[in-house]
């Protein structure tokens, strides 16, 4: 596997990111964290959810590496981790490049079929 297979290399990682992002509550949690770090109880309040329910969502976000949680403070505040999201952006750009290249070659193929120069 090298960069030719960029799509495959990142797929497992990114399916975690994308499935984490697919849930509106988790997106709202990320939105909240974009405004600053927060503890579980601070997150539970605006969502009118139990801390257990919020913790479940946080686990999904943490597994997808979209947030980090402090190991030192007892309240274990959550922070946004944007690096992994950048990776997702790069994946999309690469994916788009696959289509661009594909259409370049399709163009050449069509030209050959039609007996013209592309």
């Amino acid at each position: 596997m090298d960069r030719v297979w960029g799509v495959a290399v990142l797929e497992d990682d990114l399916s975690l990111v994308f499935s984490a992002l697919a849930d509106p509550t988790r997106r709202a949690i990320l939105e909240h964290l974009a405004g600053g770090d927060a503890t579980v109880s601070q997150l539970a309040e605006p969502f009118a959810m139990s801390q257990q329910a919020v913790s479940k969502h946080l686990k999904v976000l943490e597994r997808a590496r979209l947030i980090t949680r402090s190991r030192t403070a007892q309240s274990r505040p959550c922070a946004l981790d944007t690096a992994h999201l950048d990776t997702a952006a790069e994946w999309i750009a690469r994916h788009r490049q696959v289509w661009a290249d594909r259409h370049d070659r399709l163009d050449a193929h069509l030209a050959a079929l039609q007996g013209r120069s592309s």
């Binding site: 030719v4 499935s19 709202a28 974009a34 999309i92 750009a93 594909r102 069509l110 050959a112």
Partner: protein, 147 residues
């Protein structure tokens, strides 16, 4: 940024929609252009069962080291020469690709590729959370899409 939650790639080709549809659905055509740059997809590595529910699978071979990668998709809609839709159930919890062929009436056809799921989840989170670095990249990416 459109906010529609879709990634779109458009391209105009000098060919009728029927030919473009066939290029996208016949292994003997696909073999010429499918695989990402640096790979080859031989005709015998391409499965096309052109009906809703039918398989669309391509095994791409890396030119450098012979390693392979298989895309496994299932057709959802097949309407020659206007529309082709497939999903890849194993990718990001189900990635949907729709390819629309629009006859421009002058011997050219616009091919529009929409990919959803990935961008939908991505864009909404981006737009709402305001991750600036990623947004900047995304804007640059969209600019290239529409250029």
């Amino acid at each position: 940024m459109s906010g529609t939650g879709e990634l779109t790639y458009r391209r105009v080709h000098r060919a009728p929609p029927e030919l473009l549809f066939d290029c996208m659905t016949k292994p003997e055509h696909l073999a010429h252009f499918w695989g990402p740059t640096g790979t080859t997809t031989p005709v015998e590595n391409i499965t096309v069962d052109l009906r809703p529910g039918g398989a669309f699978e391509t095994t791409m071979v890396n030119d450098a080291d012979g390693s392979t990668y298989t895309m496994r998709a299932v057709y959802v809609e097949v309407r020659r020469p206007d529309l082709l839709v497939w999903i890849e159930p194993e990718v990001e919890g189900g990635m949907r690709t729709s390819v629309t062929f629009t006859d421009l009436g002058d011997g050219r056809t616009e091919v529009t590729t929409h990919q959803t799921n990935v961008p939908e989840a991505y864009m909404s989170a981006q737009a709402r959370a305001g991750f600036q670095t990623s947004l900047d990249r995304f804007d640059a990416y969209l600019a290239r899409l529409t250029s």
